[in-house]
Every structure is written in C-alpha cells, then in structure tokens.
Symmetry: C2
Subunit: 516 residues, 2 copies
C-alpha cells in the first residue's frame, strides 16, 4: 500500500474516523486512499476555516481527534484562526497539511511557503514525514500527541511523494498518556485555603466544568462557602437542570473584577489565572485582587475532576452538590430582542442539546434564560477568533448525530465561515442556526468607547456597520441548500425555532434584533 | 496626536490612501483616527481574505500600496492566503496587524499568538512598533519597504497602546529605491545568445509583460527569431489589440515542456526559471530542456523594461514590434460551455477592462477568445491560493474607479472569499462577476488522474463534488446586495453579460457550464 493508505489506516486504528477536508492536488493520493479505508469518513468543507473549526467541534464533543486535511501553507493559513481557537480549547485535532513532493520543494513553485512556521504557532506537535516508510509511525505519534491531556493540535506535514510511494505499512496506535494525578501537596494547600476562613474563589476550567468536576466543586462550595466561577470561554461546559450551576467570569473586565472582589484565595482547577480579554487604558489586565493568593490545584494536563473530588472528600466529606432546579422562562410577546430571543431559546432548548455559542453581544441573556433547561452542553469561542460558531456546530453534529445542535451566531462572525452551512446540508446534520442580525459589529461599537477612543465619526462608524447593503441570511442559506426563515417578532421566532428543532436536518433562522 | 493618527497621516503622506480592513477591539483607535485623516479611505471587508486580496488587487493596478488592517494573529492568519498570492505577485502591500497592548502580551490572553512568525512567512519586512514615538517612522519605513522593487508585503505590528498613546508626530515619506539598472554584461550575454543562431526563448514576467516590456521583447523576437513566452501566472499582463501578443507558459507541465522544446537558450526577463506547479510521479519539475542554457537578463528588482529595451536596441535596432490586430469572436449559439462563454467575453470585453481571472478549468479558452479585444489588463492567481479572484477584482475597482472590472471565477474558488461581493455592493464598485458553475472542483478531478492516483471511488469523488446540495450563486449574491442572474445558454449569457457591463455597480452572472 502507499503512504496515504497506510496513514489513513493508522489514523482509523487509533480512533480517528472522521476527516474534514478541503484538499488540493498535493492531497489527491490521500483523497483516493479514502476509498480503501471505509472506516474513515471524509467530510468536504468549502473553506479551510470550516475544516479546522469542524475538527474542533468534533474533538470537543467526541473527546478524540478528527483529522483536518489542508492544502499546503495557504490551506493551513486559511485554517489557522480556528486552529487557534482549538489550541485555546485544548481540543485534540490531527491536522494533515499536504505539501509538495520532497524533491519538488527546492524549486520554490508558486504554492511553496513556510508551512512549518505556520504550524508551529498553533500546534503542540509538528512533524514532516520524509519517507513513505515513516508516515504511518508519524501518524500514530500525531494521534498520541493530539490526545495527550489536555489535548492539542498535532500537525503532520505530508509531502505528495510520501503519499504516493508504495511499500508503506500501517502502524499500531501508541498509548496515550493519561491525565496527571495531582500531588497531595496541591490538594492540601487548597484545603488549607478553604479552611482559612478567608474568602475563596474556585475558578473552574477544562474538565472542571464537566459533570464530575462541577459536582465535586459544588460539594466544596457547599461545605466551605467558597464561591465557584467558570472560565469565561469554556471549550465545553455541561449545564442545565440537575447539574450544579456555575456562573462564568464576565467578558467585561469591570464586571469580572467585581466577581473576584474580596477574594483572598483563588484556587485554579483546570483554568488559567483570569486576565482581561483586551487591554483598556488605565485598567488592570489581572482580574483578581492584588492581595489574592493564587493556588494551582490542577492545570490543563492534570486530572481536574479527580483533584476536585479528592479536595471535596477532604473538606466536604458529608456535603452533596447543589444542583440547578428545572425551570424555563415563559415565551414573551412583542418585538424580537436579545432578551426575548434568549427566553424563547430557554423555553424550547431540547434535552441533550449541544449549543455552539458565538452570539457575542446578542447573547448577553442566554446564560440566564437557559440555566434551568434540560441538561445540555455549551461550547464557546475559546480563542476569540470569530468565525468559529458555525464550523464548531458542524463538527459537533458529526460527532453526536443523535443530539440536536444549536448554533447561536452573530451576523458579523457568521460571515467568516458561512459556507459551513453547505457542509451541514450535504451531511444532513441536525443543526439549527440562529443568526442574530443586528446589522453591525455591535461589540466593536461598544469597545470603541471602552478603549477610550473618541466618539466615532462617519469613517469609523462605517467600519462597524453591516448595513449598506443589508445582509440577507435567508438568501445566503438558501444559496447553500439550508432552509431558512426570518423572524422579526418574538412569536415568529418561537414558532420558527420550535419547527426547526422538530424537523431533522439543518435550518437557519435569521433573528432580526436591534444592536446595542 | 496619538500613535494611530500619526500612523495614518504618515501613510497618506507616503501615498497610501486606501485602507481595506476588518478591525477588532485592539484596532479601535486606528479606526477612530480615520475620521481625523479624511485623505485615508477606509473600506470594510467582512473577512480578512478579502482585505488582503483587495489590497493585492489595488497594489497591482495602482502601483503603490494600500493598507490592510487586520486583527491580531487570527486576523493575519485569515489574510495569509491572499498575502501569499500578493507575495508571489510582488505586489506592494502595507499590512497593519493590530496586537495587544505591549504590557498586556505577557498575560497570554485568549487572542495571543505568534504574529511575528505568521508575518514572516509572507513579508519582505516586519516591524513591531513598541512606542508611540516610533510608529510614524516605522510606517514610513513600511511603505518604502513595500514599494521597493519589485514590491512586497511589509507588515507593521501595532500594539493597542502604541495606537492610543498621545504625543506622536507624523513622519515624512522615505525615498523608494528605484529598480536596479541591469549591468551591460547581462545584456551582452543575452545578445550573444540571441545572435548564436541557436533556438532562444525569452521568458517574460513582472513588468516584462507590461506595455513597454512587451514592445521591446517583440522587437527582439522580430529581429532574432527568438520565441517569447509569458510567465504562467502574471500579476498583471497588458494585452489585446495594438499590443504584442505573448502566449503564457501552460499550467500543464506536459504542454509547457513542449513550449520550451528545442530551446538552447532561455533568457529570463522578470520571470523565474519555469517549474511545474506541482510534482507528478515520474515527471520532471524543471520545464526547460536539460541542455538549455539559462541567462538571467533581469530579475524582479531590476528595471525589466529597461533591460529589454537596451537589449532590443542592441540586437533589433531597426525592428518594430509586431502587435495584435483587433478581432473579436462571433457570439455563438447553443448551450453554454467554457468555449462559448469565452467567445462572449471576447466579443464584449470593453476597452480598458481589468480582468481578474480565477476561472481555472473553465477559463481554458479565455486567452484565445480575448486576444484581439481592445487593450485590457489581465490579473491572475499568482500564488495558487484560491479565493483570490473576487477580492483582487474588488481592490482593482477601488484603484481604478473609471475602468470596468470583470472577475472570471470558478465556483469552488469563489466560496473562499464570497463576501467580497458585499464590499463591492457597499462601495458601488463597477465589477461584473462571472461564476463558472460546473458543480465541482473540476481541476482536482483532472489532477487526480494526472498524479497517478487510482480512479476515484465514491469517497474520493465526494470530496471533489460541489453538488448535493447545488450552490446557488444568484441567491448568495442577492444575500449580499449584488444583483444576479443565471445563464444556461450562450444567448442568455451574452445578454446578461452585456447588460451587466452597461450598468454601473456590481453584478453577478452564474454561468452554468459542464465540468471537464
């Protein structure tokens, strides 16, 4: 068999069974080899940002990597923003970047560029396979590297001749390092802080906002009075009725600072020390008080739920978790507003839903409105690179075909990777996309004043404005085979959202909402 | 004034008067500062690939850089593919990549990434401004670096606090190095080859395919019998009636090898040594015969037309150029095919048109059909990173508002940067876009067999197929405010193309054509 065949077999034997791709000539042997390995499902995306974002969404939900097939440096470049988000999400992803044949590189043909430099900016592991005999072993290492806790992007650079050379053999899967057990000293130090009688905040991230971590953290809070917070942009947060409810750190530094106010101890459990998303003149970057002592209970590669459980057993032996009671908002009347749209979503969110949230300013009310909905997963914009929501929803739907996926998406962000809709249509994915159309980059209008810039003149305003002409997302969706409707009242939105959820396959609702 | 104001004033004083942008929070002071410098025109694009592709198109036509405003590493990542094309086109572009405030970088906030590494892969010059007092001088250097022959991408990394710090002053423009004069030895060596009596090919690229270079080359060919060829993917080729007609080197290595067959001397005039676009098993990468002697008459940074003129004066003192006679194809009847569409375009191409050609397989017949049309410029996919055509057309239309711009675009490539249509609508640009919709990545079906991969099975075929669902480009265009029609016969296409050219503002025609 050739290198491409051995590579794909190796991937499937290591549990990588989906390949999102946007291939080119240098990947043609890889593409042809898909027919020799039926276990590998190839999913075509019309742009590489969708390829990598879908791999991110898949990895977040499946807990194991998909492959992302890209065409040389420019293909990797187009996929970088969502690989950046995947890196920040610590999602396992195996990127396969095709390259020129080894002997062709020196000719500096038009598509030649520095793939290695690009890959290095987002990857925990980069390897260029140089011989057909090596590629399967390299692929096995890539899967292990991507899967090593907490997960990351592993990039295998695949020259065309390594793909097409015969005589390759598959390689067996490599063992994946398990999460590290947190040493007793770290647990004891956190316990001491919790017992100090001084105000404590436990900041949860990574697997700390999955069910087991939340349950242990809730026990600790119950027994010690510690406050719980979740990181601002979790890769996947489990929430809803029956699960402990944990507020996330606010995006706005001003609000976040208040959430940490008075804390004398900050215990990090799978989260990083909290810093503001951007710098603002005269405002601190660090969000916790200066005199707050920081305790690292568990980092990204550690067994975060295990550490929280051990800590709970130490300080909260008798306590149980406090869980969210079921409860849904009523569906209000009147004009469609971010608040009323959020109420509709809270009222109708199906059990087991996966929510890909890139609603940005239009999403301010979503957390409150959905808190008591049936249990669901919430996926967020981990790295701040917009254009993530539709691809992540696409990948999540491939990973979890029996669960309803809902993409809550801002208009401006949607336009970066809008062709994800086409892949949803082709694959028949059960994704309901809500585009909050406020005809602006509303967050930038808001940020313009926050950074202390002068009130916008016409030239500045024009760069934040998405009207002239108005985008029509129902037409865009129809152009890519996704049935779409537009809602201008809350009642219309409720009706359309309910019907989209009831029908299989992708749907899009353009929710016309005012800006900030 | 603050750093952003000083920066923008410096840019305009150095001739950079258009800023294509997709800003974020870290660029808000730059955006606000646009209102203080009315000479700078801000043009919003909905995705960074359009920003950079438009800057490329602008620079190719204006001969001076536009600015491309991008948001941190992910914004630069999204713009990299078209910066790669700009690099290959040697287009002057000043990229301004906003970054976190200098003091905020160490906190590794979510959008933090290695901007410098990304910028290095596409730029001739990279600078991070670290103080408000430096930014104007850095900007002046960026313009000079981008403008130095043959032109390139200069990237200025702009921390938010450098933008917002007061006390900055504009800097005067720096002198731009002129093209180098080719030494007499190189001209003599080429003359000797041309006088040897042995078969010579002159390969023209860069400014060698502009009017003056073509005229001199034609005189040389006329006097010496040398064959002329143009590089496969010129940044801008002047052609049409009254200009010397020069065939471009074929994309297919098999055909290109024939074009060079028998040549004993290859004279490079602004072009690189010709190599195949990709490697193919068992086929050579180098396209000229092994025993062909290569003479570098003029490289990219040299005065290519000057060198050709000096050479012509030496070997062709009495000869004049042979120019293309006017002539247009008749408009045929029948089904719309790549051939008949090309004939319509050749029949109707307006004088002074700027053609952005990313038609790929559907464009095979365009060169022949338009050869005798009135003089026009032809812009091609210089770096092979698809998704260039619509943005380049957009930027060219901003650079040349009185000239008709025509984007000839393949369906698959169009989807990478489709939102360029919205910018065309917003700016009222006179761009006629023809989407050749053959419902496939047709070139890949062709390449699959050329690289010797096995005949495609269902899985492979599915990755090359753009049906299921069919893309409807008229709906996509309507969703972005561009009037659109669909043509399925040659007569419909001729009617729609003629009407689109006659009306100002953007139009899109979806030309339904069979695949290969």
């Amino acid at each position: 068999m050739n290198g491409a065949q051995a590579l794909i077999r190796t991937l499937t034997e290591a549990g990588v069974e989906v390949c999102f791709g946007n291939p080119g000539t240098s990947e043609m042997h890889f593409v042809a080899a898909l027919d020799t390995v039926p276990r590998m499902r190839g999913v075509l995306c019309l742009f590489e940002g969708t390829v990598t974002g879908a791999a991110d969404g898949y990895g977040r939900m499946a807990g194991r990597p998909a492959a992302a097939l890209l065409h040389l440096g420019p293909g990797l470049g187009n996929g970088l923003a969502n690989l950046h988000n995947a890196r920040r999400a610590a999602t396992p992803v195996v990127t396969v970047a095709g390259d020129h044949a080894t002997y062709h590189k020196r000719f500096d043909a038009p598509l030649e560029s520095d793939i290695d430099a690009l890959a290095g900016t987002v990857s925990v592991w980069v390897r260029r396979s140089l011989r057909g005999a090596d590629v399967a072993g390299d692929a096995a290492e890539a899967v292990a590297a991507a899967s090593a806790p907490p997960g990351g992007v592993a990039t295998l650079i695949l020259p065309a001749d390594v793909s097409w050379t015969d005589g390759a053999e598959p390689a067996p899967p490599l063992p994946v390092r398990p999460p590290s057990t947190v040493p007793a000293e770290a647990i004891d130090a956190a316990a001491k802080a919790l017992r100090s009688g001084e105000p404590c905040v436990i900041l949860l991230g990574g697997a700390g906002v999955h069910r087991a971590g939340l349950a242990a953290a809730s026990r600790i809070a119950q027994a010690t009075g510690a406050r719980l917070l979740g990181e601002t942009f979790p890769a996947r947060m489990e929430r809803g009725a029956g699960l402990p409810a944990v507020d996330r750190v606010a995006y706005l530094a001003e609000s976040a600072t208040e959430q940490f106010a008075g804390a004398r101890h900050l215990i990090l459990a799978g989260a990083r020390y909290p810093v503001s998303f951007f710098a603002y003149p005269g405002k601190p970057s660090r969000l916790a008080p200066d005199d707050c002592e920081v305790h690292l209970l568990a980092g990204g590669g550690d067994d975060v739920p295990g550490a929280l459980t051990a800590l709970a057993d130490l300080v909260a032996a008798g306590a149980g978790p406090v869980v969210q009671r079921p409860g849904r908002p009523d569906i209000p009347d009147g004009d469609l507003m971010p608040e009323t749209a959020a109420a509709v979503i809270g009222a109708l969110l199906p059990e087991g839903a996966i929510v890909s949230d890139e609603a940005n300013t239009a999403g301010l009310f979503l957390a409150g409105a959905t808190a008591g909905a049936p249990p669901h997963d919430w996926l967020t914009l981990t790295g701040g690179a917009i254009g993530q929501g539709l691809p992540v929803a696409t990948g999540a739907a491939v990973a979890c075909p029996s669960r309803p996926v809902i993409a809550l998406e801002a208009d401006g962000s949607a336009m970066y990777t809008i062709s994800a809709l086409w892949t949803q249509a082709r694959e028949g994915l059960d994704v309901t996309t809500v585009i909050f159309n406020n005809r602006s980059y509303a967050i930038l209008g808001f940020e313009l004043s926050r950074v202390g810039a002068p009130g916008p003149g016409d030239a500045a305003r024009s760069l934040l404005d998405l009207s002239r002409p108005d985008l029509d997302f129902t037409a865009l969706a129809a152009g890519m085979g996704v049935p779409a409707t537009r809602a201008t009242t809350t009642a219309e939105f409720a009706d359309q959202f309910g019907r989209a959820l009831a029908e299989p396959g992708p749907h899009l609702i353009e929710a016309m909402v005012p800006g900030l």
